[in-house]
Amino acid sequence: MTTLLSGLPPSLPILGGGIALLLLCSAWRRSEARAILIALATLLLAFASLWWPLLPWPGDPTGMLFVPDGWFTYIAALILLSSAATMIMAWRETGTSSDEFYLLLLLGTLGALVMAGSADMVIFFLGLETLSLSLLGLIAWHRTHPTADEAAIKYLILAGLSSATLLFGLALSYADSGSLHFAAPSLEGPEGPALPLAATALVLTGLFFKLSAVPFHTWLPDVMEGAPIPVASFIAVTSKIALFAALARYFAGADLLRPDAAGTELAIVAVLSMFGGNLLALGQSNLKRLLAGSSIAHVGYLLLALLSPGPFGLTSAAVYLAAYAAATSGAFAALGGASVPADIAGWRGMFRRRPALALAMAIMLISLAGIPPAIGFFAKTYIVIAGVSARRIVLLVALVASSIIGLYYYLNIVRAMMEPAPEVHRAARGTPANAGLIAILAIITVLAGLFPETLVRQTRSLLQPAPIMREASLRPAAPHDILYRE
């Protein structure tokens, strides 16, 4: 039992406790305010606990259920913060007596955390399904919305399909290696490569489905459109971060630079996602669907980082995840705060009607498009460094070409916001909490873009000692040494 629990990060029991408390409170008296307070406090506590490992950790992941390494710490921090953002977005937006909403969110967060930290198939599966099932409830949240149910049933069927595929793959992997360790099976087994290859392919299908990489992405736009805005944000941000973390962990031991089947599939999916996501978004006028396309494309970029192991690979992915999380959450928060139909026509003239909101939205879009001074620019640069360093030429070309497509639709929204307003109707404003969230995210996006040093240093210090990182030690250049040498 000690081995089982030795890796358990304290944040997980804290979240579990929070969930229990929330259950108790709702049973006693339903109150949205109390629910969100408890949920936020739980998240905060869990966040703080990331830096105090209660139990000593041996440092060797074999045979452990959890790996609370630097990668987990970083991902957990992102997950906790983004789900806190989701909660703030949801405040007063999800109808009355919505404390279950926060409960489900907490549950989903717990699932995401478990997934990100798991070293074992069972644990991973548990986390995945916790997240998946709580998402189901969240997607179908709006009882009156006819599309909510449609989105939920689509998600249910497709998620079930993908879960089954994933499980089958895990089973094959287990059959091949006899270990439930959550990692890509080695191809050098005694049975030949067929079984591990099939296992990897099936597992990847499951993971790609949740990540919504092309061609497993088809559910995402529909679900995002049908789900409430905070939930869409949760799917696009929290869930994807967790999934990407798990994917990275799955391939931690594999050499992705070798041209084998898994690497090829990853590369193909990356290219398809970049183009598919951006092209899909190009044709959309609904902003939620558009952001779905955008998030698909960003998965493609992240896969490029994953496929570029080396001194920059995971660090760049980490920075990119942060940039993506901030900008996407911000965009959804702005979408929620605007109280207009989430299509481009509704946002026309936003700069005249609500300049601050429009400015924030523009910042988020600029960040997503990778234009300075927002953090997205630096993050994309970082990923390109990684790609160049690993000589991923084809992927880089795809990134450049698809980014240009991306620019078009991001800027198209900005343009629509700058056009004269069709008519000035006083729409309801978002909550002050949401406004504060938007402001904070906008400021973070710009400030981090101007001064990314802290972020880089933080990610690097977190990822440096982790076994997941197979980086050559990176010597930071001391400019004053090299600039002035004769």
């Binding site: 990134l399 240009i404 040093e453």
Partner: protein
Amino acid sequence: MIALPALILLPAAGGLAAWLSDRSRQASSLSWWVAITTILLQALLLLVITRTADWGHGPWLAHFSAPWIPALGIAARMDMDGLSLVMLWLTTLLSFPCVILSARDVGERPGLFNLLLLATIAGINGVFLATDLFLFFFFWELMLVPMYVLILQWGHEDRRRAAIKFFLFTQGSGLLMLVAILGLVILHQHATGIVTFDYFALADTPLMPTAAMVLMLGFFIAFAVKLPVVPLHVWLPDTHTQAPTAGSVLLAGILLKTGGYGLIRFVVLLFPEAATRFAPVALALGVAGILYGAWLSLAQDDMKRLIAYSSVSHLGFVLLGIFSGSPMGMRGAVVQMVAHGLSTGALFVIAGSLQDRLHTRDMRRMGGLWQALPHLSSVGLFFAIASLGLPGMGNFVGEFLTLLATWRVSPPMAILGTVGLVLSAVYSLTMVGRAFLGPPHAGQGTTHTPPPADFGPRQMTVLGLTMALLLVLGTYPQPVLDLSLPAPAHATPQPEGPHP
């Protein structure tokens, strides 16, 4: 020298101030005055920098460095050599017509207009100063955003298409350059183990010929889009045509010059061998630009499109000069850039003023404007003549030197280039003839019951000074020629220390 970042921060801060001063809505022209003051201050600052520069200690005149993202070897490093100084002066000088002539007449939200204008200028200043490749790229991208908004907000009828086209072309090619920059950084890291974006360190990277060629092409394409080089010029006519007057002036006057500047600083100097091998192709592209631009220029009915295509033609000479492989060509290219900035900038002012007055850019609906607008027309005639490269004007010096440098490398190219001079006469005079001379167009006078107002003293002063500058540049270009040779990438500037 702390003044270098100040050159970037000052316009940015001034822009913010102009924007804020517009909020009060007390005096509508307040933000305009703030903008003017900012530009004046910038000119003063540049004067101070020029005065206190480190003359006589090598080619680099001023230096600034501060850590920015040391984790990746990125520093906020700026260095100024003569080339940067010339370009900065050009920027500052052209800011005046932008602000004085066009920003004054902009309709709604002048504060925002001034903010965007000054922000673009700040970005351009940054581009001309940065010697850290990341910082350079940062500014390179940064200057596009306000420009995009300017075109989108104050542009003409087809502005949406033009703005997005502008943005996609420049940004897309910029991404290629980003990949090339990072490729260089990574190769440098492989060679030395050090990650740095420092221009001087990267210049020493040992490169295989193929790698150097590929990286050089990455840079070249980005700058070629900006310059622009045929066939990557297609964004330019649309953008110039649709942009507001100040936008056109900024675009033609300065923004295009960042392409030429980049070609000199980051293509020829960073990859000398690759650039030499590439030179024949570049020369051919330059000549193609000269001829194609001139040819299409003649076919246009839209006055701004005509000027835009003439820009394509003129900047072909810049490409010729840069890739002629001699200092003479480089100097000629710089003079050509300065002269083109002044003359074409002024032509855009004139075309913009005509559009304000006549509500059309179509030369089929102009004609005989000299009678109604003698001042405007005579100024237009002057700049048309300047742009056809009359000796005694700056353009001739640039064209002559670039052609002379080209002749040494390849006489046929130079001969084709001089054919471009003939064609430039054709389209310039055609423009003058169709717009200003001839009998008045039938539609005029009846549809515009009050006759359009001629240029007043404000416009005449600014444009007169521009004329004077062109004449001085044409007859006494030596100061610019002396300054314009870029400092070699290997001559590392002295760190800040004993001499301020």
